[in-house]
Subunit: 198 residues, 2 copies
């Protein structure tokens, strides 16, 4: 399959790239600062250019999103909007604009995260973005069929425990290799409207 992978240089993007390439797929990587194609998907106009350039696709895979981390008492509307643009609208636009380019039974796989269901302090903007996206996936799935859309919703990565473990005390981490398998499941499988919780 020809797969467009967003977030080429990130920790998750790198792992997903490796796993999909090892399964024989043609992976076109996209990033702001690295990858085969350089685009910022928080800008809808750049998403349009990206799809025009990439051409026909079998799958689109999101692995990146930026949200602010602050206490609830300090999270202003502008902070929530920053998270909404940085993680939610970037991925809803990937779906909307991507529909004409993706094969009839092709798929979109978005990245959300554990905070939608298991919050931690200072994670409210991330929780909100993840909750929004998971509801979007369920809603979009019933409209875009036979094209498919799923979300991968991982907890903290085992490989990131040194940096982020303190935010997730006692929560079981997940290996990047396991998260990458959820992308395989979404891309090569036939399910839609699913949130793969890891």
């Amino acid at each position: 399959m020809k797969i467009l992978l967003i977030g080429a240089t990130g920790t998750l993007g790198t792992a997903v790239h490796k796993t999909l390439a090892a399964r024989g797929h043609d992976v076109v990587t996209v990033g702001r600062t690295g990858g085969d194609l350089r685009y910022d998907i928080t800008d809808p106009a750049q998403i349009a250019e990206l799809y025009e350039r990439a051409g026909r696709l079998d799958a689109v895979v999101g692995t990146a999103g930026d949200v602010p981390w602050k206490p609830v008492t300090e999270l202003t509307p502008d902070d929530y909007l920053a998270g909404f643009r940085g993680k939610v609208l970037s991925q809803t636009e990937l779906v909307r604009q991507g529909i004409p380019y993706v094969a009839e039974r092709g798929s979109f796989t978005l990245i959300t995260g554990v905070l939608a269901r298991e919050p931690v302090p200072t994670g409210a903007a991330a929780a909100l973005a993840n909750g929004a996206l998971e509801a979007f996936v369920r809603a979009a799935a019933i409209e875009i069929a036979p094209r498919r859309v799923n979300a991968v919703s991982p907890t903290v990565f085992t490989e990131a425990l040194a940096d982020y473990g303190d935010f997730f005390p006692g929560m079981p981490p997940v290996d990047l290799a396991t998260v990458a398998q959820a992308y395989v499941r979404s891309v090569e499988g036939a399910q839609t409207g699913q949130v793969y919780e890891l």
Copy 2:
């Protein structure tokens, strides 16, 4: 209890008002076009004025939110932003700005909706807003304790079937009186971080 009720003139707001008043509470109603106080909570500056005017409170109750209804293929970032401002940010700001005014064990009760878990066509922006709010409630609850925050997440109202029933074929409706009881449960009970699904 002194309760600030947002959405004074709406179908739900009217029912919740009646139920809370019948239980002996002092309900101060707020609306854009009706109610004891006239404010538009989609404007953060008006929320600040509203709280200044209302003074000390035991509970804040949201019953209103506006989101656009369109097919996923037509929902642009501006549409999602309109729904985000009209239902999500209005209520996250009610919580953030309300904390200094609400009693130590007082509560915020927000309105979400069934589309977060049971989507219908053209409801993606509403689904996304509801999913965002439900994740926010879980996240904010652990930070604002002992103050509390819950969501009421109803399906279509029995009383609104004539107008909206066609959007929810075969889905069991819920009576407004039952929905109003969920507000009582949130306001008079001791739970927090809950989404009451009706």
